[in-house]
């Protein structure tokens, strides 16, 4: 810093019309500007390089499996490390079904809570409830998993599954012995985990809807709920879809709690009572056992698939959430 100051001061005295101090400050600021730009650029670039590098390394490591199985990897269901036969369909199925089940349960709850918090709740309860919800989003997933194993699964096994079997047992969805753990438990725990997420993001989206939109509806003679429907939800539509997709992205990649509750059996079944397996869970469970290049490659290929899936879902979600903040011009579609 001292060097810069001295040099710039020298430049200042060389041109007497400019007072030395101004020259020094300018030069120093210019240096600061450039330095700041270079540092941030390096940081930005290194992130891009890191992601690209990670993808490249993964593709490289997955190569044995990619070459050996091709498309069959995602269309066949036989996962047999002993015979070195790998088909990832049950994991893809498990990830998608548990995540969609979670969405089905979490979306009404999350959106409802967000609407309540942004439109209906008395001013005094908004901050504490919002804070609580954001706190829920921060609980480590292994804690959810523990709670799931010791509370949720027994409750499902003794109460919910028998009851569902009795009343709706004619549907393939609710057939089979009640284990507690299984697809239903995984979907439920995922739903519980993503509700705070969906609520928090949706609430932000709804708060971003301009007051002028609400007033436009009110002035037309809309009731409170009509205002929410006509002005607020419609305006925030794409952002709300984004919030839901963000929840989906989280559900897709969630590992710990699901691994603890889904039962970890590579099976494709219509019944939600039956154990399943997800992409994240199989990686977590089998990574240490993968001794051969092919086995390791297969697991890494699962990881690659998961990466692509979550990146796509999250990317879309962010784009949608961001578009609401930008206002009407982008909502044109």
């Amino acid at each position: 810093m001292a060097v810069v100051f001295g040099r710039a001061g020298g430049a200042g005295t060389a041109t007497p019309t400019i007072p030395p101090l101004v020259g020094a400050r300018r030069a120093r600021r210019r240096f600061g500007d450039r330095g700041f730009r270079e540092i941030t650029r390096a940081a930005g670039l290194s992130l891009v390089v890191m992601v690209a590098g990670m993808a490249a390394v993964m593709v490289h490591a997955a190569w044995p499996s990619l070459r050996r199985f091709g498309w069959a990897f995602i269309t066949t269901s036989n996962w047999d490390p002993v015979a070195e036969q790998f088909g990832a369909l049950p994991f893809i199925f498990g990830t998608l079904v548990s995540s969609l089940l979670a969405l089905l349960l979490a979306v009404p709850l999350g959106l409802g809570a967000a609407i309540y918090l942004s439109e209906l709740a008395p001013r005094a309860v908004r901050p504490p409830v919002t804070f609580l919800i954001e706190l829920l989003a921060a609980i480590p997933s292994v804690v959810y998993g523990l709670w799931g194993i010791f509370v949720l699964a027994p409750w499902l096994r003794t109460w919910v599954q028998p009851a569902l079997g009795h009343t709706l047992g004619f549907l393939p969805l609710f057939q089979g012995p009640p284990y507690g753990v299984g697809m239903l438990a995984a979907g439920l725990i995922l739903a519980i985990m993503i509700v705070p997420f969906i609520t928090a993001v949706s609430r932000e989206v709804l708060l971003a809807v301009p007051r002028t939109q609400r007033e436009a509806a009110l002035a037309l003679g809309a009731t409170g709920w009509e205002t929410t429907r006509v002005a607020v939800l419609r305006y925030g539509r794409s952002g709300l879809i984004g919030a839901i997709l963000l929840g989906l992205g989280r559900a897709l990649g969630e590992t710990m709690a699901v691994t603890m509750l889904i039962g970890n059996r590579p099976e494709i079944s219509f019944s939600l009572f039956v154990p399943g397996y997800t992409m994240a869970s199989v990686i977590a469970n089998e990574f240490t056992e993968a001794t051969s290049d092919l086995y390791l490659g297969a697991l890494i290929e699962v990881g690659l698939l998961l990466l692509v899936l979550t990146l796509a879902v999250n990317g879309m979600a962010r784009l949608l959430v961001w578009s609401v903040g930008r206002g009407p011009t982008v909502v044109r579609e």
Binding site: P210, A216, A217, L218, L220, E226, R234, V331
Partner: protein
């Protein structure tokens, strides 16, 4: 026969701050009444009290009577939703619903009122767009988003949206402040057209505009109605010194 709006001893607050003091004013039916005054004097607050929009702001409060069609819109049994259907409003910044088409924007109020019949909707939307002098410009793009129109067109779309429910009174809060002179002139023409059927109250910052369109003008200052009378009189022979200072540009 419509009998306008009679405001008596109207007071309004935002939380603790008392922003309108004992306003008494009679809005003539089928005429244009302008509200002028320096920024922050309570023009918007006043006009929003006329259709019970003031109270939607958290902490806002109103005391006083506003008689419309012989009924006090602030009497206990009155539903503000009903009041707002009868007394429409156009805002300073055009605020069409951006995710809706031109048609759906205009039809929004009708649909809220329970009109479902496609034929009725078509007819009333077209009539409202004609009334807002927008039909010719948008008749080929009724299915396009309302946000795709120009600023002046968007404001006329908002006027059409307000007119579609056939209100008895139209409140306009600086409807031209975001528009260029040509768009402004169109809206002013429109106001003169509309007053044949409607009672109009318009807030404006522009004294020439008040002089051009208004039959009566009220001058607000610091939350009080300083002077109210026929526009020509208020601008040529103001009674109050403060009015004179304001219209001659000595302050505000």
């Amino acid at each position: 026969m419509a009998d306008g709006i009679t405001v008596t001893k109207l007071n309004a607050w935002f939380g603790p701050s008392h922003v309108l003091h004992d306003i008494d004013l009679a809005v003539a039916p089928r005429a244009v009444t302008a509200i002028i005054g320096p920024s922050g004097c309570g023009k918007s607050t006043f006009i929003r009290c006329l259709n019970r929009m003031h109270e939607v702001v958290p902490g806002a409060r109103v005391v006083g009577t506003v008689l419309q069609e012989g009924q006090d819109i602030y009497s206990p049994g009155v539903d503000p939703v009903e009041v707002r259907r009868r007394i429409g409003m156009v805002f300073q910044k055009p605020n069409p619903f951006p995710t809706m088409t031109v048609f759906d924007n205009v039809a929004a109020g009708l649909r809220l009122g329970g009109v479902r019949d496609r034929g009725v909707l078509n007819e009333r939307v077209e009539r409202a767009l004609h009334a807002a002098a927008l039909w010719e410009e948008v008749k080929d793009r009724l299915g396009k988003p309302g946000a795709g129109l120009s600023g002046g067109q968007q404001q006329r779309l908002c006027i059409a949206r307000a007119l579609a429910v056939e209100p008895e009174v139209l409140l306009m809060d600086e409807p031209c402040s975001a528009l260029d002179p040509i768009a402004t002139a169109r809206i002013e023409e429109l106001i003169l057209e509309l007053k044949r059927d409607l009672t109009i109250v318009i807030v404006t910052h522009n004294m020439q505009q008040a002089a051009r369109v208004a039959d009566a003008t009220g001058f607000f200052l610091l939350g009080e109605l300083v002077e109210f009378g026929p526009t020509s009189q208020l601008f040529t022979k103001p009674v109050d010194k403060r009015t004179e200072d304001y219209i001659t540009g000595r302050f505000g």
